[in-house]
Symmetry: C2
Subunit: 361 residues, 2 copies
């Protein structure tokens, strides 16, 4: 087992990464009171709920099982968590346990942030994407029909328990979506990791346990460092949104749940790289390497063909980084070096959209 | 005009109290960017929306008008604010302006706390209750069918503008409800103010402008001092909940919107005083003074007669102060001296409930 620390003063917490952690006692020392609500979904419950309940023997634990999918990440489903908390008379000392992927973690985290104005929670991410990204850093929230992650809070967990064995039950598509976020860390600030991925990407797609554990640990370490430096995203943390402005537009336009978040981010990163190339920031050589790695990771490389340029622009203007009608984007100067910029060429953006929307996959 | 300061370090802010403040320029210096969303309701909009819009000339302001009443203080109505923010493409630099009573302030505040994980807001309270209580201190949130204010956040405004002229359009019942919270400050920690109220209560019910301004200023000062000492309610701030555990049970049981919050708190304070008397904390003489002042303020003195003891206990166990199945209550040792206690006599609590539930009003 590896233990990383997210360094946020009094809100610091450990990330445990390893095989079979759900069979261990890790969680117990982090829960200070008796009441626990496990928040999970109908896909994960049959697989890992019993193990989680066994870890919590001795606590007064209850469970709420939500429907599975990004399309349920909204205020209505969030309210099912509040229903459970109140029906079971959970008080301010309750600890929520998020057992599932990013959707479960984001919703359970936001419920914890706002139940009685704030209670504790613990993340047990069960997908690669949530283990390397959403469970770390304290961003929580739900989607709105008009924009992704528009409603939420910063709320840090007590700890994150990433059991790599849970990845064995993951669908290939879900695995690839997680790899997209792993590639992101290499691209935005860790060139040696990108190079490691170039040598090892098939190990990840073939679920080599050691390679996955290494990729998770390195991704979490990269993310933890950035979050510790800028918890509330006033600067550097925005770089973690590489590919997300384009990606969120794809997710919102196609209806939540149609595209996996990681798939949309993969296409978004290619679009950001393409714009960086057209704007004279990124070399053609680096661009080719990014496209090649994305394809080897079995990720999509073009947005849904029914989307239009106008729709992209409209949705991207609603991005949380947009200010005063200007779309700010994370762009690449090279592999391993990202910047946040509103200083790109506007016609280049139109050309990027045009070129990606004309691809026939 | 009087200016008070709520002292919370970098989250400090001024409260402006005075006549005709809606005709002044106060708000402009507090808004740092162009975008503004005014959140108000269908009762207040015809009265004060134009004045508020005039104050905001030059900003890009939009308005969302919500239905009026505590029964709409829920996630569904909250979502109307998010709808407006996203439809108007408001970004992270937006400032929300809450124009209305406590329900509007609590909902606009929580929308500001959670839109894009946190934007700025300003309170323009237009009821006595919101001017003396809910607009100060940063508690925001919505109700759940199973409990009042169960979902929310701490989020401090940029400033509070309390224009006492807005009280001229207030219904008598609403005025009395505000006076209940004014009395609360005297009871929980300011005996000289309670004595001032004993001499001046009819001036308040008759809307004497100077008396109202004094009562608002003193109430805000008392509250600001307590909030500055304990922003997140880890100790002393809980005293502000005097009467609220009983009161919230009344509001929840009778259906939100049937009882005004201040009316329920008035009865709750009498019940807390009665329990304090039965537990040997409060003198009979003080009890009589409290009952007398409550009646002179034209406030109700008994809960709805269809409520039962079991229902009270059940709802009070869901109170945010309850821990591990124990109801913690704010009780009175004397007028001006409150304590938070779970050390009251259980049979005394039953007798209090029995005695108040048998009153035929």
């Amino acid at each position: 087992m590896k233990t990383l620390h997210v360094d946020l003063g009094e809100r610091s917490y450990p990330i445990y990464i390893g095989r079979g952690l759900l069979a261990q006692d890790l969680i117990r020392s982090h829960i200070k009171n008796k009441q626990v609500l496990i928040v999970t979904n109908e896909t994960i419950a049959p697989l890992y709920l019993k193990k989680t309940q066994a870890m919590l023997a001795g606590f007064e634990h209850q469970t709420v099982i939500l429907p599975d999918g990004e399309q349920y990440k909204n205020l209505e489903t969030l309210n099912l968590i509040f229903d459970a908390l109140l029906t079971h008379k959970m008080d301010r000392s309750v600890t929520l346990v998020a057992l599932g992927g990013g959707v479960i973690g984001d919703m359970a985290g936001f419920a914890a942030a706002s139940y009685q104005r704030g209670v504790n929670f613990i993340q047990i991410p069960t997908t690669l994407l949530s283990q390397v990204d959403s469970s770390v850093g304290g961003k929580t929230g739900v989607n709105h029909a008009l924009g992704k992650n528009m409603i939420g809070a910063f709320h840090q967990p007590l700890c994150v328990i990433a059991d790599t064995e849970t990845l064995n039950t993951l669908e290939d598509k879900q695995l690839a979506a997680g790899i997209a976020e792993v590639i992101k860390y290499g691209l935005l600030g860790d060139k040696p990791f990108f190079e490691w991925l170039e040598s090892n990407i098939e190990k990840l797609t073939n679920r080599d346990a050691d390679a996955l554990a290494y990729a998770i640990e390195r991704s979490c370490r990269d993310k933890a460092e950035i979050v510790a430096a800028d918890e509330k995203e006033s600067g550097k943390r925005a770089l973690l949104n590489l590919g997300h402005t384009f990606g969120h537009a794809i997710e919102t336009a196609s209806g939540y749940g149609q595209w996996l978040h990681g798939e949309a981010v993969a296409v978004g990163m290619l679009m950001a790289a393409d714009l960086s190339l057209r704007s004279g920031f990124l070399s053609k050589d680096d661009m080719d390497k990014i496209v090649s790695l994305t394809k080897r990771a079995k990720l999509p490389t073009a947005p849904p063909k029914e989307m239009t340029q106008a729709q992209f622009i409209d949705l991207m203007l609603r991005d949380k980084k947009a200010l005063n009608g200007v779309i700010r984007l994370v762009l690449l100067q090279s592999i391993g070096e990202a910047i946040i910029s509103d200083n790109y060429d506007r016609t280049a953006l139109n050309k990027t959209l045009e070129s990606f929307l004309s691809v026939k996959e």
